[in-house]
């Protein structure tokens, strides 16, 4: 892979400082590229380019249908390059090639298609009815905000880039995107695709580099109208504060410690697989992972036995091999964090059921310091490992006695992002789902996020929603146009609230 540059106003450029930073393949520790390290000045140039493109360029004035055709073209190009992009994504981020092939790349394709549908079908002008006195009619216009900055994490870099760029440009905005420093390469590919799809210069700009400078600038620059961020809760709070300087619209998708509730009438075979899928997919490096499995005491022993037995069957190895289920974590530092929590769990008296260490039988050439075994604890909801988001392959199993107790434990968290309920009784499952204070609940499933339905968090898991028409409309202003339809003074009696003499 070659060196990676910034994309500003339709041109690939180095950082103004000329500096770069390395990006590594987590599985081997091998450096795979030097990436341009943007500073504040680069971020400002990108914002100014986006502003100019929005104010003076054709994009914001195009019809939704025209914009949709460009998004569909981008989706087609991604489809055509899916194997190549999946390889870049997996190699840079450490996720399995299976994840990249089945989730990341097709997910981005369907995201662009879904927002193309929104651009075509969501009305820009809505007649809101007439007022009898004074005689008037009201119209609501949905208009793009202007310049939107998007800051995305390293766990699903290509998909998240699509979640930020897709709705923004579909609605007529211009964008500056900053990927996480661990994973810049697939975002670069996405920008190449969008340029190939004939999206005009300045509409999509890319800044790679540290959040402390470039990211801060994207969150606070006066010419930015909206900031969208996916990542840590504390960073979300920082972004809100920076954005408050010029009262920007902010949408945030933040952390979670989601509960996956297994009721006593669940299909235990499916639920066991579902709890493992809900926790260990991508090594638990997923914000809505079901890292707390709440299990009815009536089926507890049998269910936990299934979990432990099946966790041992998860294949760990080279993430570029289609036979591998789990590759490395994103970096050895993430393994350090996971190890630290395993120790904290043991110190607090949690019972380690499996895992808890790095694997010892990895193939030669793989970096053992970046791997960790799927780990299952029997825990109490008051423990650190049950309350803090670890972002590693650690599942806490917590028993409960009644549906009410399960709901209480599930909601006893500062977060409210995702959750699951497993039951054969759908009425009962829906009742539990209705009581969970989270933005998404899956019944008899987990992790299923679709670009046509809203995704986001309650409580400290975020503000606003992404995806679907809800997500699309987060990128559109609401303008009320009042038109007085009177032709003489009879329709203006309200002026007398000031004076009858004017």
């Amino acid at each position: 892979m070659g060196d990676a540059q910034l994309f500003i106003d339709g041109a690939w450029v180095n950082a103004q400082s000329g500096e770069t930073f390395p990006t590594y393949a987590p599985s081997t520790g091998e450096k795979i590229a030097d990436v341009a390290k943007a500073g504040r000045e680069d971020a400002r140039r990108a914002v100014e380019a986006a502003r100019k493109a929005f104010d003076d360029g054709p994009w914001s004035k195009m019809s939704g249908r025209e914009r949709a055709s460009k998004l569909r073209a981008a989706a087609e190009i991604i489809n055509g390059r899916s194997a190549e992009i999946a390889e870049i994504e997996a190699r840079d981020g450490g996720g399995t090639i299976k994840k990249a092939m089945f989730a990341d790349v097709p997910g981005a394709v369907s995201t662009f298609q879904a927002f193309a549908d929104c651009a075509e079908n969501e009305p820009d002008v809505i007649e809101r009815g007439e007022s009898p006195f004074p005689p008037a009619k009201s119209i609501v216009r949905r208009e793009p905000f202007g310049v939107c900055s998007g800051i995305v994490p390293w766990n699903f870099p290509f998909l998240m880039a699509g979640w930020k760029i897709g709705p923004a440009i579909a609605a007529g905005n211009c964008v500056v995107l900053k990927p996480a420093s661990f994973t810049s390469l697939s975002a670069i590919e996405m920008v190449k695709v969008l340029a190939e799809a004939d999206i005009p210069p300045g509409v999509v700009n890319l800044i790679t580099g540290p959040g402390g400078s470039a990211g801060e600038e994207l969150a606070q620059h006066p010419l930015v109208d909206k900031v969208a961020f996916t990542g840590s809760t504390e960073v979300g709070r920082r972004i809100m504060q920076l954005a408050s300087g010029t009262v920007k619209k902010v949408t945030l998708e933040l952390g979670g410690k989601s509960a996956n509730i297994v009721l006593d009438d669940a299909d235990l075979d499916l639920a066991a697989a579902g709890v493992l899928w809900g926790t260990f997919f991508h090594n638990g490096q997923v914000c809505e992972s079901g890292t707390r499995a709440l299990v009815s005491r009536k089926i507890y022993d049998e269910f936990v036995g299934l979990l432990v037995e099946r966790a041992a069957k998860i294949v760990i190895g080279d993430n570029m091999d289609m036979a591998t289920d789990l590759g490395p974590l994103v970096a050895p530092s993430q393994v350090d964090t996971t190890e630290r929590y395993v120790k904290l769990g043991l110190d607090e008296g949690a019972k380690l059921l499996c895992g808890g260490t790095k694997p010892t039988n990895l193939a030669a050439g793989l970096d053992q310091s970046a791997y960790f075994l799927p780990t299952i604890f029997e825990a109490d909801n008051s423990m650190k490992i049950a309350r803090e988001e670890i972002f590693g392959p650690v599942l806490c199993v917590i028993p409960f006695n009644s549906d009410d107790e399960a709901i209480k434990i599930a909601n006893d968290s500062i977060y409210g992002l995702g959750g699951g309920v497993w039951s054969k009784n759908l009425e009962r499952a829906h009742s539990v789902a209705a009581s969970m204070r989270t933005g998404t609940v899956w019944i008899n499933d987990y992790h299923m996020i679709t670009p046509t339905q809203p995704f986001g968090g309650y409580k400290q898991s975020g503000i606003g929603r992404e995806l679907g028409d809800y997500g699309y409309n987060e990128y559109r202003q609401i303008k009320h146009v009042w038109q007085n339809t009177a032709t003489d003074r009879s329709g203006y009696v309200h002026f007398s609230a000031l004076s009858g003499n004017i």
Binding site: G39, E41, F182, G211, G212, T230, V235, R237, S333, E389
Partner: protein, 165 residues
């Protein structure tokens, strides 16, 4: 909860103190890609339920109530710094190509306090020119930061230190 910092962390904080003109604040928060981690921010409001739990190089460390409840005594939480790591946080030190991390003081396997402090090159700091965000002259808190060979006296610097490290 009692939080301390390693020498390496102190040096990075001191560098940030020289580069930034606002008040530096450490906040410990949880969630998503960073797990529970320290974040160094300039002019940051820690939040209504946050309270000081320590300091590193004169910079106060805040933690919210739910975390203080989880770590009620001195659990040996140490702020350290890992080089070559930026992740996705907007913490100030990412500008220097490093990241503050939490370590367990008692666990020698992951305690990196013995790790030699690495220099943060002056050349990588682009923070001195604040450009568009610069306050009007009349509203500035104090004089321009002095040349890097002398550390300004501020609440962010526990003591004078030499340039670079």
């Amino acid at each position: 909860m009692i939080v301390t910092g390693t020498i390496a962390a102190e040096r990075v904080v001191e560098q940030a103190g020289r580069d930034r003109r606002g008040t530096l604040v450490f906040t410990i928060g949880t969630g998503c890609c960073e797990s529970t981690a320290p974040f160094l921010y300039e002019d940051f409001w820690p939040g209504p339920d946050s309270e000081p739990v320590g300091e590193v190089a004169g910079v106060v460390v805040f933690a919210p109530a739910y975390l203080r409840a989880l770590y009620p005594g001195d659990d040996g939480v140490v702020i350290d710094v890992e080089h070559g790591l930026m992740a996705e946080s907007m913490s100030i030190e990412t500008e220097y190509g490093c990241r503050f991390v939490l370590r367990d003081r008692a666990n020698v396997l992951i305690d990196r306090r013995a790790q030699p402090a690495r220099e943060v090159p002056e050349s990588v700091s682009a923070l001195r020119a604040r450009g568009l965000q610069e306050l009007p002259e009349a509203l500035r808190r104090g004089p321009e930061p002095p040349p890097t060979s002398v550390t300004r006296q501020s609440p962010n610097s526990a003591s004078d230190v030499d340039s670079g490290f």
